[in-house]
Amino acid sequence: MTADAGARLQSVLAELRRLPGILGVTIARRDGILIAHSLPKAMDPKKIAAMAAAIVGTSEMAAVEMGLGSFNQSIVDTHVGMMMATGAGEEAILVTMLRNEANMGLIHIGVDRAVESIAAILRPEEVPA
């Protein structure tokens, strides 16, 4: 069952990564532990997972402090592209790195779909495997 969940998460990532302009994708737990990734060799997935958790945690707190409601997504905008950290269910974060040339409409659809799948895959567990 665990191997199965892992494989399904990988296929969600693979599908997202096929979109033009995407540099890499990672699923992290909200406490900064890596769950799955599809990244270029040069990137350290564990570091990215920890950073994404810090960004999302900080953003969530900021949203609460500012009375802006519940958290959906953090975006880091750079001259090369973007990093999107999107909440995926209670436990996980989907990190998407993309180039500026990417088609944002397509990306948003892809990310929304992926987030739903990830939440569904991770939901029915918590029983000892």
């Binding site: 406490d31 769950i35 707190m61 000892p128 495997a129």
Partner: protein
């Protein structure tokens, strides 16, 4: 008959230094190990690792494999590292079932006959005199033959192994035997190694526990482990938290421990976290450093989950910060092992370990280690001590 392998030490090392230390150098020879789990792959990894660690130490290992073709088994064993392949003796139990000629010296020709199985294994053990024997696995026999006969063979194998001073590992999943029989099997073993996996938030964690059956024997806590290609089994701590009051030197400790680390800091203070990955003597650990200032406590909470152990860093020259240090420990929660690092211990006015222990009202068994993180003094020792506390032996 093969040439005798290199003479072996008194103990059979597991290849995991921190574990071998706890076992006073490894498993004694001769001894009988029961590798017990509710899933097939876990205990096999330990058995395979144990066989290959022997070969890497110049010993000879005999592996009885009821499930895999020998070519496949040899290939898979290579993932644990390389050694002299001629010191790996395989007892081939599958070729005859597939009606293929065996390329191994020892092969079981009639898998339906317990007598043939018995004779083949015992002949191989007596001729090769391996120092480690792995039977993968006993449930294969228990499922096919009468219980009494299998238990008799089990006892005989223990005797044969003992006669040549070998460590013998029996892999076993229990499906059909009753508790009474299990008690008997445990009683025949010197050590029981149990395995378990759990899944939390999409992340699989494996752990094992070693219990010596003799009275007042060694018993470890559940030890988290991972498998690494060409290295084998490694103790793995998914999260060691480095925490403590403002400006105690937490980031420096993380930096001193890890080869590559990152720190998210502004104006000399950590605003998000530090992260480093540590590999020392058979232990891999992910080190997370928290900010010290109270206004960043929400960050602390993000990382304070599923913590294996805590390195609590304090500034030995700042006694007024000690209450804050204790309060940070409470944030992590109870029952998590921790070591106190009395940092900046080289500066004038630094408190002694005893003094700190007294002022913080620490329990007797909590070590206080003087450190100088900027010069990497005492830091690694503190981590190893923490690792030993997490693994635990009584």
């Amino acid at each position: 008959m093969a040439a005798p392998a290199r003479p072996v030490g008194a103990r059979a090392k597991t290849g995991i230094p921190v574990l071998d230390d706890r076992l006073k150098g490894g498993f004694p020879r001769p001894s009988t190990l029961l590798l017990f789990s509710d899933k097939p792959t876990e205990k096999r990894i330990f058995g395979e690792n144990f066989a290959v660690q022997g070969i890497r130490a110049g010993e000879r290992s005999l592996y009885v494999d009821f499930f895999r073709a020998p070519q496949l088994a040899r290939g898979e064993l290579k993932r644990f590292g390389s050694g002299d392949a001629s010191n790996l003796v395989l007892v081939d139990a599958t070729s005859s079932q597939l009606l293929l000629p065996s390329r191994e010296r020892y092969h079981i020709d009639d898998i339906g006959s317990l007598e043939n199985i018995r004779e083949t294994i015992i002949t191989a053990v007596r001729a090769e005199k391996p120092s480690r024997i792995i039977i993968d696995s006993m449930e294969f026999l228990v499922d096919r033959f009468p219980k009494e006969d299998v238990l008799r063979l089990w006892r005989e194998l223990i005797e044969v192994a003992r006669a040549i001073g070998a460590v013998i590992c029996f892999l076993f999943i229990n499906w059909t035997l009753e508790e009474r029989d299990l008690q008997e099997i445990r009683g025949m073993s010197d050590f029981v190694v149990e395995f378990q996996s759990s899944l939390r938030g999409g992340v699989v964690r494996n752990s094992m526990r070693i219990s010596q059956m003799a009275e007042a024997g060694i018993k470890t806590n559940w030890i988290p482990y991972t498998f690494k290609d060409l290295i084998g089994l490694t103790v793995y701590f998914p999260r060691i938290l480095v925490t403590g009051p403002f400006a105690a030197g937490k980031s420096t400790v993380v930096k001193a421990l890890s080869e590559k680390s990152i720190s998210i800091d502004r104006m000399g203070t950590t605003v998000a976290f530090d992260y480093g990955n540590v590999n020392i003597t058979g232990i891999e650990a992910e080190i997370f450093g928290t900010p010290g200032q109270e206004r960043f406590e929400f960050i602390f909470k993000i990382f304070a989950r599923e913590v294996s152990g805590v390195l609590l860093v304090i500034d030995a020259t700042h006694p007024d910060e000690l209450p804050r240090a204790k309060q940070m420990l409470d944030l992590v929660g109870p029952r998590i092992p921790y070591v106190v690092l009395a940092n900046k211990s080289d500066l004038p006015g630094a408190l002694s370990s005893d003094d700190i222990s007294h002022r913080m009202d620490l329990p007797q068994d909590v070590p206080v280690i003087p450190t100088v993180a900027t010069e990497n003094r005492g830091v690694r020792e503190a981590l190893l001590l923490l690792a030993e506390m997490i693994i635990g032996v009584r």
